[in-house]
């Protein structure tokens, strides 16, 4: 079987390199064509408004909406997939998933560090989180995973969550 193809959406400044490295370690073939890839990845970089503008400028909004093959959103990438976000005074999202991103009510914000999703610890770094009927797993009462059609979104950073994160990405890739 040939390697699965993965396209990582580039739309702003941030650490996309770690996502690339993680999929490279898993033997995926990285390509630029978001439309054709077996798995599209919407990484989390920057803040909501500039990120949406970045997606629009690169023509990625329609491409992501039209995808029927799996798409994985990470952190802000999950939040952008919702219908809207409270961040930056309100930003319209991609609408791939019903719901909205709201500011979290944690003791410390941003919520940074390792927290359990079921019984596995992943690394989180966020100030907003999904409020959505598509939430399928939570961490300390905060949305950790949303699944809707071909879209899976994770609030944590699997690419920065050591071996546990690598296993999570491996599952995403094998389902793609």
């Amino acid at each position: 079987m040939s390697a699965k193809t993965v396209a990582i959406c580039r739309y702003g400044a941030g650490n996309v390199r770690s996502v690339e490295l993680a999929f490279t370690r898993l033997g995926a073939e990285l390509i630029d064509d978001v439309e054709a890839a077996d798995l599209a990845v919407l990484p989390g970089v920057g803040a909501a408004r500039t990120a949406m503008n970045g997606l629009r400028d690169r023509g990625l909004v329609e491409v992501l909406r039209a995808r029927t093959k799996p798409t994985l959103g990470i952190c802000l990438g999950l939040q952008l997939a919702l219908e809207e976000s409270e961040e930056d005074g309100g930003v319209r999202g991609l609408g791939l998933v019903p719901g909205r991103a709201v500011r979290i009510e944690a003791e410390r914000v941003p919520r940074i560090g390792w927290a359990y999703v079921d019984d596995v610890a992943y690394w989180f770094a966020h100030s907003y989180a999904a409020e959505s009927p598509a939430v399928t797993a939570t961490s300390e009462g905060i949305a950790a995973i949303v699944e809707h059609g071909a879209f899976t979104g994770v609030q944590f950073h699997p690419e920065k969550s050591g071996p546990a994160g690598q296993r999570f990405l491996e599952q995403c890739l094998s389902r793609a």
């Binding site: 650490n15 390199r17 500039t50 802000l76 941003p110 770094a125 920065k160 690598q166």
Partner: protein, 244 residues
């Protein structure tokens, strides 16, 4: 609340991890990738690399080191030292770092914090605060800034910082314990996570810091030995600290 974090701090000069007193008599203690990976395997929650390279092109040195670390280390890491502009920060994050830490540059021009948060998100922006007698110091703790520590901490939060890395200059290197009073008062003044730094000598000191702060920076207490982190984690768990 996420779990309390243990964060080994590695000083880097010209691409090597170094150890020295007050940036003098630097001794080479290893490769940042090898040491970083070993700390990751030993249970580190994150890593901090503090670049003290003396050469002019600090950015190139930082980017090269960050890129090498990201190839082999799959836990989050922060890069500090010589970050003065959004471009500097973007270059380091694009190489694979997750956060940047700024100190003197933010004191010289506080708008830098807003610019970094706008471009990278607050979660990627750590402001390091070096404090002595409730006053802020810049330039590796050598220059008094005539700024009240608590007021500066609040200003950093308002400007969009994501975390505060608070070093007590009085305690740094003394092994007499973190300044828990200072950490608690900053923790009360802001809602940001606070990373405790400076003064760790014993396991109990680290446990005490994690009572009042979200994370503890570990430097000389580890003696550049990842195995020490393994034993420290075990001792902290015995003291009832809930670690990953």
């Amino acid at each position: 609340m996420p779990l309390p974090r243990l964060i080994p701090c590695l000083d880097v000069a010209d691409g090597r991890v170094v150890k020295g007193v007050n940036f003098e008599n630097l001794r080479d203690v290893g490769d940042p990738v090898e040491l970083g990976a070993a700390y990751s395997d030993a249970g580190a929650d994150e890593l901090v690399f503090l670049d003290i390279t003396a050469t002019l092109d600090k950015r190139a040195a930082a980017v090269a080191t960050a890129a090498r670390v990201a190839e082999h280390v799959t836990i989050p890491f922060t890069f500090g030292g010589g970050i003065r502009t959004v471009d500097d920060a973007c270059a380091v994050l694009e190489a694979g770092a997750d956060k940047v830490s700024v100190n003197s540059a933010a004191l010289a021009r506080p708008e830098l914090i807003e610019e970094l948060a706008g471009a990278l998100g607050s979660q990627a922006v750590v402001v390091a605060i070096d404090s002595a007698a409730d006053q802020v110091f810049s330039h590796a703790g050598t220059r008094a800034e005539a700024r009240d520590t608590l007021a500066w901490a609040k200003e950093c939060e308002e400007r969009g910082a994501g975390e505060l890395l608070v070093t007590s200059i009085d305690r740094d290197g003394t092994r007499s314990g973190y300044d828990t009073e200072l950490l608690a008062s900053i923790g009360d003044a802001v809602r940001l996570p606070v990373i405790a730094s400076g003064g760790a000598g014993t396991t109990q000191h680290v446990a005490d810091a994690l009572d009042v702060a979200s994370a503890a920076l570990l430097a000389s207490i580890l003696h550049e030995d990842p195995q020490r982190l393994v034993s420290l984690r075990g001792e902290l768990k015995e003291l009832g600290v809930c670690l990953r």
